[in-house]
């Protein structure tokens, strides 16, 4: 044995032991348990929410998403690093905002990258969209916002009949034609392809833009229907009744209590607390009182009860 082992075990009675036998028995038992769980309960695989699905099933939500992004109302607008250069909205504690330390590493111009660039591709195939795009881009910013404001207001009163969206009459300029172009792009199942066209085609290595696209109202609505919102302990479970990352319950719990539950800096606050907790766990052997807790709790007497009985 090593010198350390010899010093530790001096005077301690030993018993026969078979490491490999014990390991193989435990492995076999756990393997059986895991196979039974897999056979009986299977595993979750809820399908993704795609542009095509939203365009066909919830066309008004689809149009609202696209128009809001174009109008500058998406949550990525002014998000700050790593997506945009506006650092004012970065989460901070005592004036320290780690999000700003490394600048914009994933640049995204929401209106341009998520709507106008895809529309430029639609314009190659559709003369109506091509003309509308030219009209829109040559208009003043104020005019563009006026059209978008009227269009978004009209969407609140829009009706859907057999997949066709009926808008009340109004002055939407070229925006209605542009949004029809986006809707057709989605219905054709080409939205994600158009969004990721800036990556290393023909390989699509990065899904950032596609995943960000519906992250606001659409994804929130789906998550709400599946009890997966943050206030429903999000990561702690998966779709259906499947367990998720239950070991992150302390993390998700912090999101349920003030000030984290109501603060604009909640993510950073929770993250810092968890990092501090991790350092605390690391240093337990050296933290006075905490490193004496096991002696006072006395659970060790149960674990080593045979030893103590033998001793005395």
């Amino acid at each position: 044995m090593s010198k350390k082992s010899e010093a530790t075990l001096r005077g301690i009675p030993m018993r026969p032991y078979d490491l490999l036998r014990e390991g193989l028995i435990v492995l076999a038992i756990l393997a059986v348990i895991i196979v039974v769980l897999a056979v009986v309960f299977s595993s979750p695989d809820y399908p993704t929410v795609r542009g095509e699905d939203v365009a066909k099933v919830q066309p008004i939500a689809y149009l609202t998403t696209a128009a809001n992004i174009l109008a500058g109302n998406s949550s990525i607008e002014g998000y700050g690093p790593p997506y945009t250069s506006d650092t004012a909205n970065a989460q901070e504690i005592l004036g320290i905002a780690p999000a700003n330390w490394f600048g914009v590493t994933i640049p995204i111009d929401p209106a341009q990258d998520l709507v106008l660039n895809p529309l430029a591709r639609v314009a190659v195939l559709d003369k109506d969209v091509s003309g509308a795009l030219q009209t829109y881009q040559s208009a003043t910013s104020d005019q563009q916002q006026a059209w978008l404001k009227a269009y978004l207001a009209a969407l609140d009163k829009a009706t859907e009949d057999g997949g066709k969206v009926q808008l009340p009459a109004g002055d939407y300029g070229p925006v209605a034609a542009l949004m029809d172009g986006m809707l057709n792009l989605g219905r054709a199942g080409l939205l994600e392809g158009a969004l990721e066209s800036g990556s290393r085609l023909p390989y699509m290595l990065d899904s950032t833009r596609s995943l960000l696209y519906f992250q606001d109202a659409v994804d929130q609505g789906v998550a709400d229907s599946l009890d997966l919102l943050g206030e429903q302990w999000g990561l702690g479970h998966e779709t259906g009744s499947y367990p998720g990352a239950w070991w992150l319950w302390p993390y998700t719990f912090l999101y349920q209590v003030p000030p984290m539950s109501t603060s604009d800096n909640g993510d950073l606050q929770v993250g810092v607390i968890m990092l501090a907790f991790f350092v605390f766990l690391l240093l337990i052997p050296f933290i006075p009182i905490i490193n004496r807790l096991p002696r006072w709790l006395g659970v060790y007497k149960l674990i080593w009860r045979d030893w103590y009985r033998r001793q005395g």
């Binding site: 044995m1 090593s2 010198k3 082992s5 530790t8 075990l9 301690i12 009675p13 030993m14 018993r15 032991y17 490491l19 492995l27 756990l30 393997a31 895991i34 769980l37 897999a38 056979v39 309960f41 299977s42 595993s43 695989d45 399908p47 993704t48 998000y79 690093p81 790593p82 780690p98 999000a99 590493t105 994933i106 899904s207 950032t208 995943l211 789906v222 999000g234 990561l235 779709t239 499947y242 070991w247 992150l248 993510d267 950073l268 993250g271 810092v272 990092l275 991790f278 766990l281 690391l282 337990i284 490193n291 096991p294 002696r295 659970v299 007497k301 030893w307 103590y308 001793q311 005395g312």
Partner: protein, 201 residues
């Protein structure tokens, strides 16, 4: 100075064959509490085997193949068992104050491994390429970005997430678990806390 001879001597002093593959144990190693560590190792083995099969067939396989979905289910439940075993292992080691007599290194390496394992779990959830991963990606990005980690780790970059999950992080986990096991066997099982009859107040 012969480095090889020095390495031989260091290895001989720190890890004999009886340390690495023990055929006898101190008599106080006699509790279910000692099984949680080997349970975690076994579940890690199951994760490795099922993960290698899934990696060989690619990330889309389990969506379209019944066999693939079954292997995914094995992987999924191995994760649950793995974390259950790790949490119980950590708790029992805390209750045993297992960091005593210079074993703080074993404790800290274990906690460090647990931290990386949790992050590996996150990349696993993100690699599912289903609704769960889609939702977790857009939710987790805010936490990563707030901490400044988002500049290097993009929860929505599926390729980065996948390579981290199947290669980079498992290498760190296996390396840390290896060091953890080496220290455990080098130091031998910690002696029981002194009982009242030994003078404890």
């Amino acid at each position: 100075m012969n480095l090889t001879r020095k390495a031989q001597m260091a290895l001989r002093d720190s890890m004999t064959l009886e340390d690495a593959l023990p055929t006898k144990m101190p008599i106080y190693v006699n509790s279910m509490a000692y099984l949680f560590g080997v349970s975690a190792l076994s579940a890690l083995g199951m994760l490795g085997i099922t993960g290698i099969v899934m990696a060989a067939f690619g990330p889309g396989w389990y969506h379209v193949s019944k066999l693939g979905h079954f292997v995914n289910s094995l992987h999924f439940w191995s994760v649950q068992v793995f974390f259950g075993a790790i949490v119980l292992h950590g708790l029992t080691k805390f209750f045993m104050a297992a960091w005593r007599d210079g074993r703080w290194k074993t404790w800290m390496i274990g906690v460090l491994a647990f931290g990386i394992i949790v992050f590996t779990g996150l990349t696993g959830f993100l690699s599912q390429t289903n609704w769960d991963s889609q939702w977790i990606a857009v939710q987790a990005k805010d936490a990563m970005n707030a901490l400044g980690v988002g500049a290097f780790f993009n929860t929505m970059d599926t390729t980065q997430v996948l390579t981290l999950h199947v290669v980079v992080l498992p290498l760190f986990v296996v390396a840390l678990v290896g060091v953890h096991l080496f220290l455990i066997r080098h130091d031998s099982p910690v002696r029981p806390l002194p009982g009242k009859e030994d003078g404890e107040k």
